[in-house]
Amino acid sequence: MPRMRMNQAISAAIADEMRADPDVIVLGEDVAVAEGPFKTSAGLLDEFGPLRVRDTPISEMGFLGAAVGAAATGLRPVVEIMFVEFLGVALDQLSTEGAKFHYLSGGRVTVPLTVRASVGAGLGFGTQHSQTLEGWVMGTPGLKLAVASGPATAYGLMRAAIRDDSPTVVLEPRRLYAQRENVTTGPEGVIPLGTARQVVGGDDATIVALGSTVGTAAQAEAAASWSAEVIDLQSLQPWDRDMVYESVARTGRLVTVEENPLFGGWGADIVAAVAADLFGELEGPPLRITAPDVPVPFGKELEERYMPSSDYIDEQVAGLLQTGRVPPPWWEAEKGSP
């Protein structure tokens, strides 16, 4: 089981799929010669050559659209959107075209497209390069959406996405690219889309985390006086209701931990589903731990505080367990103060 960084795991996953299937190609800005701005396509150009591994002009609409067309005619393109915000100049091709081809061809055209995008705060890239933006992609029937939480899930989800016949988005928390861990490679390492993963067992609550918050939540749990089952959701569309429901039915409490602002965040969907379907089994209010409803600030201290920390998760969950109520977020106190 090789130990690798998340960006190495991503490169490895793509390479493994490229070896298995000559139809897999890779497109993006500086993904070939430079091996990706985050080194997530290391070695690919060397091994697979310039026909299959291509640098593009700065034209996200153009090359994402080309990937849709290539996918619709038989290839399996893996497209890098360097920062998820750049989908703002290309969303049409993903959501309105690619996601709807299968439907609009009576099932006769498939679009086995993988779109990879780096997401999240923590590296000082500033307001326009630090969001997670799941909301732009969620709620698009026809798309799948997965989020990596470290090297192993990045490897496993990426391979699953490339193999999947539906267009699939894989989000990669940028600040985890340098994180290392042992990764099960090969077929056993593939993680089926739509399945979640228990990270830690526990009884007082079910914590559902995604991407960058998985590690933070697990860390919080490890140090806390309370105990919780921490679930890495892994896939957001579709998401693993079975695992989440089973856990909440047992613990009686649901907590989501999200890097995004509260309003419009993915946690609302999980909470709404659980509140509806497990109403009688909830022993306390569902709690969403999120970032505040502000653009991502740059200053280091601010940016760090923007993201939910393990201390903050501990405080919030402890508060919930002690009072039986949803504690106010940290910024309620801060916002008023000078």
């Binding site: 139809d23 190609i25 026909l51 299959r52 291509r54 593009t56 002009p57 034209s59 609409m61 153009g62 090359f63 994402l64 659209g65 080309a66 990937a67 849709v68 067309g69 290539a70 996918a71 619709a72 005619t73 038989g74 290839l75 393109p77 100049v89 049409d92 091709q93 309105t96 075209e97 709807k100 081809f101 299968h102 439907y103 609009l104 061809s105 009576g106 099932g107 006769r108 055209v109 498939t110 679009v111 086995p112 029937p141 026809g142 799948k144 999947d164 016949d165 539906s166």
Partner: protein
Amino acid sequence: MSMPANRLERRQALQDDRRARYERMVEIRALENKVQDLFDEGLVHGTTHLCLGQEAVAVGVAAAARVSDTVTCTYRGHGVALALGLTPVDLLGEILGREAGSIGGIGGSMHLSEPDVGLLPTFAIVGAGIPVAAGAALTAQVRGTDDAALAVFGDGATNIGAFHEALNLASVWNLPVVFVCENNQYGEYSRIDLTTPVDDIAVRAQAYDLPSEVVDGQDPDNAAAAVAAALERARAGGGPTLVEMKTYRYAGHSRADTAPYRPEGEFERWYEKDPIVNYGRRLVDEGLLSGDELDAVKTLVDESIAAAVETVLSSPPPPLAAMFDNVLAP
């Protein structure tokens, strides 16, 4: 004379049979007129975008392209779809939202599709099909086949970013794709000169170091020859071409639009170049068809469209369950 019912035969017929080209143009016109009638009768749920007057472009494109080439096309795609080989039932079924339609009534007028003859689902978003065609050409290039792709789009679409990005990308990668601009002089209710500061769209190819051509799009042979030349270059590794077809939209933009914004006399001037009238005349002059045969084509086509309407009107609407099919790939 008889109309082939099979999509592939319909398509093949256009290749060298000029009578078939004539017939197909007559069919497109008859179908579009029928669609307008059905719309006016309240039988068409939703919208329609007719290509009346643009029949020669559709037929020219389809005559030049192979079945294994990929075509992307717009909401104004009834003509192109018919020319590519889809049947009147495929279209009318879709337009009327019946099971008989090209995708079973799930798509409607703007969303036709038939992979067997190379037609990807047609695009209701202006310009969106242009990069997608570049992508289909990429498949051919990566696989080393000599297939090509064609994007058919309007003059107005050349003002959207997707056009620019697709032509640039196709040029840089030397993709086997032909960009066919149907310059019908209008985008919705606006004349091209109000939104587009160049007289010839073809000029825009220079920004990507691409060859381009201005073509009289009212003659199907002419249109076919221009597209065929561009396709040949593409297949031989010569890269993309922008082909501008000068044409004209007889009807309004959509639905009940009667195009009151057109300057006086414009329609009449264009009608002198009517592709069907002139091509028919030419075929008669050249002795390929007699005057009686021209009439017979019209009769045959009208009958076939009438039969298609009947078939479609007796086709059921899609079952409710159909809306849950084909959301995700199996």
